[in-house]
Amino acid sequence: MNSFGWDWSYAISTLPDLFSGLKLTIIATFFGSILAVLIGLVLCLVRMAQIPVLSGLASFWIQLIRGTPLLIQLYFIFYVLPGWGLSLAAFATGVLALGMYYAAYAAEIFRAGIEEIAPGQWEASLTLGMPIPRVWTGVILPQAIVAVIPVLANMVIAMFKETALLSSITIMELLAQGKSVGSIHFRYVEPLTMVGVLYFIVSYTAARMIRRLEGRHAIQN
């Protein structure tokens, strides 16, 4: 192995390990996203519903989560919760942390979507005599959710990139695989570069696809 320049055969030999890491990264992103969207929607609705105490708590929770680093939240769930009787596997910890963290963002995204609905929609529903819960579920939420899909999709891409943090709690996702391969061969150039390239390929193509779909959606309207 020459120590300067790029060693193709070594780079290619890392691929199986990196792909298994990428698979884990994508799975974590997938479950993290589902968690984030569901919790986010609940948080958003609880916050907007103006329930005494509860809405204030939701609002505080969103601010707290958004105001602290994901890494420290990850450590908290990983190191502290077991002591409180909640023991999770490392991978479940990672998914939970991603889900909780991005739920705070999803809540804000949903809120923006709801705020953006034209006042005329509310007024029209009122004049039609619809009960208020029905206005929410039948008129406002469907429109708001569709409207924020591109933003949520971009959030998922951001989450995908941030799953690299899970490497710090022993999860063998893409970055951890790259580091482990590199440490075995005492050579980080190829594996870490390939890790960056793989992240780039996935997130760049996903971002392009979203932009394309958004464009088509805009034309249809």
Partner: protein
């Protein structure tokens, strides 16, 4: 030593991480802002030899994970003979990565200034520098400040990554102490609250900047309370109205 005694003993050690965290955030911001302006202006330039490289840097840094970029600079660059001290590596990656994201804020702000302003400035024979610094920028700044203050908070959180390349910031110190304690909950809760408090301070600083810039642009806003009132009718939220 019981955990509470340990907590007390370690407290000063952990709190010494605050200036480190703030220093990293500050230095990285000092890198990010000029980088963001350069990238935004490069991207907006009609010349291909400017907008192509700017676009490349932006896509490169936004396209992959920031932690991967940090490790790459930390572990790979030394292979090519460029060994940066951890602080420099951290500040560089955080700064350029955030700068890439912030360039979009700047671009959006500049683009939001009506085209007629540029045309009027051209028609009056102003120099390019005057047009940018005295006509376009003062109108774009108030639009950039709110997302910019968000970026400051993002940067603060972002700095926790440098703990993974041996810089002794808040996160690093918390982890180090926690690993030697039986129940580390008090340590992590403390550090979470410190980060949260710093975020709130930065948010306040952002509102402050917003108020200043808006005042210069002839508008006034309050330091507290939301800038734009909700468009949702009160009755929809269960209140009579």
């Amino acid at each position: 030593m019981d955990d509470f005694a340990a907590f007390q003993a370690y407290l000063p050690f952990i709190l010494k991480g605050i200036p480190v965290t703030l220093l990293v955030a500050f230095l990285a911001m000092c890198v990010a802002i000029p980088v963001a302006f350069i990238l935004a202006l490069g991207r907006m330039s009609p010349s291909r030899s400017l907008n192509m490289p700017a676009g490349f840097v932006i896509e490169l840094f936004r396209g992959s994970s920031s932690l991967v970029q940090l490790f790459w600079v930390f572990y790979v660059l030394p292979f090519f003979g460029l060994e940066l001290p951890p602080l420099a590596a951290g500040v560089f990656v955080l700064g350029v990565n955030s700068g890439s994201y912030m360039s979009e804020i700047i671009r959006a702000g500049l683009n939001a200034v009506p085209a007629g302003q540029r045309e009027a400035a051209l028609a009056l024979g102003f120099s390019p520098q005057y047009r940018f610094f005295r006509i376009i920028l003062p109108q774009a700044l108030p639009l950039m400040i709110p997302p910019f203050s968000n970026s400051m908070i993002t940067m603060l959180k972002f700095t926790s990554l440098v703990s993974l390349v041996t810089i002794q910031d808040l996160t690093f110190r918390a982890n180090m102490v926690a690993s030697s304690m039986g129940d580390s909950s008090s340590i992590y809760i403390l550090v979470i609250l410190v980060y949260f408090g710093l975020s709130l301070l930065l948010a306040l600083l952002g509102r402050f900047l917003e108020a200043i810039v808006n005042k210069r642009a002839g508008r006034s806003i309050s330091l507290f309370g939301s800038a734009n009132p909700s468009r949702i009718p009160p009755w929809a939220l269960g209140r009579s109205g």
